[in-house]
Symmetry: C2
Subunit: 413 residues, 2 copies
């Protein structure tokens, strides 16, 4: 079966909202082994919505829509699909009761418009919305299936997980199983060169590299009748790649570098602190994104002025005067200072020029020093971060923070 | 003239990459006054790309594509469009020379494939790519125009700004002018209720509210022959809304709250520091996102343990014992402690339960205290952050940081 994703909403069409629903649904359908060939976006316009639906059903067995399920006159998705299938709209009493309860618990008054959300195409399967008032629903006729989901991502995603995945299960006879290796410190093209033979000869599983924010992800995907069979196909490939690229792989199916760091610190019963200048708190923000990080991250100091570096982190004024704030010497004293102040096993520190202003010939924008220290370790990295003419302040800060986390991850033992 | 955006790429179709190109182009075309009625995404597949092109040209005067401009065999956009218009592909010598120069400066070898990027539909206008090797191009025939742009957003966006906007100018006779008011501390539905009459009676400019990450944006858009005439239409509406919603508007056409805060601190020659527990460095990260923030933000302490709160920020152990770390008393001492330590005019502090673990009946997940202090001000807010069952750790931290920035913005004078 092949599918099309049709997102309805003028805010998407005008670019006021970035369409994340298509990507979410595409990934979920891929996991189910359903091929998606088209995404379409159309505004809240009856005529163009109908044309888009007709084109979609012409070329696809399954059309999943998001949006156009709200209470107002220009929310038309259900009506247009009912029209397409020649069905009338009928009241779904349990939904109406739910909407009444919803408004009873809230200061806003229910309006007649809200009742529209309880109308569904005759015979549709209804999906409960646990994050809002608009239910989803599905209709199948003549081997064509329409699944209608609400537009807000939180509502749509929960509904997919709670209802739609199970609804689709009978339609599919195989599943796609994916595992992703996370690499840092190596470029995408180098990965491709090293794995060229494996990538071209392996068809199930397939191996696909992606570059993402300075990291490389290797996604290994197998098509199999079930998850355990998929895993059985994938494991030898993971083993082989892990041998070849051992120095760069920091995790498998892990969310990100900070999660890998927190896990490794927990496993080794170690703690860390941070001293940040150019990254301005980003490293501590990233580490504390991870639930449970309070067991291993004591805290950090963002020292955005020399006074704070000297007074709080005990960086020597001589060091600052002789080598400046952006130097190997300063970053090491920052790291040692915060480790001493917060009494942790490890400490990371950054100092540099994030730009766009503040650069000079000796210290250009993108120059960043990163230090990791422990009782035994004194690791310092000098970086020239430059992704081309559009390199932003944010790019530089994000990449510097990642290098800090990666060097920390390497150091923990 | 009406337009369609057609993004080509299997990575988009599979949802591995979120499609930001459509939103960017839609916004840019709206500014030019060009109506966009459809976005389509199709994979790197010759047959389906041709079908999508045929449908697009059937219903639209202008089709802008992104992607499928690379060197490999499955990059087919230019070839498919040449086919549609009945044009042959010809070598564009200046582009070939540019590609040679590009590779001469780099360690990678140029392959025969790369020459493919210098092939263009006969008679096409070529757009230089200053961020990569694939040029863009445009073809017009029988009142149908195709504009082909590269897929990587950095290449596409720069090319649009440098070449495409000027190329499109002769096609349009009016322009859309937009200004956006940024509000915090008020809900979207309340804004709609307060402005209902103005919103329903005003047709040029139009007024559209958007909720975005706990903030409300009011976009006021006028269609006019030129920018200054658009501004003239918009100004009275901005004035009226500013009078009605004065307490909530923190900026016009400003990037975000942190930018508003930094601007106001600069204007008043004041400094600020931060003491963060549950937000873990996010406030200092946000403030230092703003270029030039080093003039007003001295630094911050992320105090993720009670020891750091007591040792570094001088929160009294009695306070921690009697009221716990998540209390009005602790957050005030944190704010006062960091203000004293870093010698700033203002200080902000947060403490709370970001979850998903660590909550209790007395201190549930989402309970956050936010303090803003100065010599004269001692402002403390108790928040219960709950956006429904899917409220994430990140939601709670982001919202708490925004409240802190907004309260700080209010306090600065």
């Amino acid at each position: 079966m092949n599918a099309e994703i049709l997102c309805v909403g003028t805010e998407l069409l005008l670019g006021n909202v970035i369409n994340t629903n298509s990507a979410f649904l595409a990934q979920e359908l891929a996991k189910l082994g359903i091929d998606v060939y088209y995404h379409t976006v159309v505004g809240d316009n009856n005529e163009r919505l109908k044309e888009a639906l007709a084109i979609a059903f012409e070329r696809s067995d399954l059309v999943i829509t998001t949006g156009g399920m709200g209470p107002t006159y220009d929310d038309l998705t259900k009506e247009s699909i009912a029209d397409y299938f020649g069905l009338s709209m009928v009241l779904h009493q349990p939904t109406l009761e739910k909407i009444h309860v919803y408004f009873d618990q809230r200061p806003q008054k229910m309006t007649a418009n809200n009742e529209k959300q309880a109308m569904i195409p005759q015979g549709a399967v209804v999906f409960d919305n646990q994050n809002g008032t608009a239910p989803g629903c599905a209709v199948t006729q003549n081997n064509k299936t329409a699944i209608m989901l609400p537009g807000p991502p939180t509502e749509m995603q929960l509904m997919f997980a709670q209802s739609v995945r199970a609804y689709l299960a009978p339609f599919v006879d195989s599943t796609l199983v994916s595992h992703t290796l996370y690499l840092f410190g190596i470029g995408e093209s180098t990965v491709e060169n090293l794995l060229k033979e494996l990538m071209t000869t392996s068809t199930n599983p397939t191996i696909a590299p992606y570059a993402k924010n300075g990291e490389v992800l290797l996604r290994i995907t197998a098509k199999a009748p079930n998850t355990s069979e998929g895993d059985r196909l994938i494991q030898p490939v993971i083993d082989q790649i892990s041998r070849q690229l051992a120095d760069y792989i920091y995790g498998i199916d892990i969310d990100n570098l900070q999660t890998a760091v927190v896990k490794k610190l927990l496993a080794h019963h170690k703690t860390v602190s941070s001293a940040e200048s150019c990254t301005g708190g980003l490293i501590s923000k990233l580490l504390t994104d991870v639930s449970g990080s309070s067991q291993v991250f004591s805290g950090g100091v963002c020292s955005y002025t020399n006074t704070v570096k000297a007074d709080v982190l005990a960086v020597s004024p001589d060091t600052l005067a002789q080598y400046t704030a952006v130097s190997e010497e300063t970053v090491m004293e920052m790291a040692r200072g915060v480790r001493h102040l917060l009494k942790t096993d490890y400490a990371v520190a950054t100092t540099g020029i994030a730009g766009p202003d503040g650069g000079s010939d000796e210290q250009p924008v993108g120059l960043v020093y990163v230090a990791v220290v422990s009782e035994d370790i004194a690791d310092v990295q000098k970086l020239h971060i430059d992704f081309g003419p559009l390199t932003s302040r944010d790019d530089i800060r994000q990449y510097a923070a990642k290098v800090a986390l990666y060097r920390l991850w390497l150091a923990i033992q």
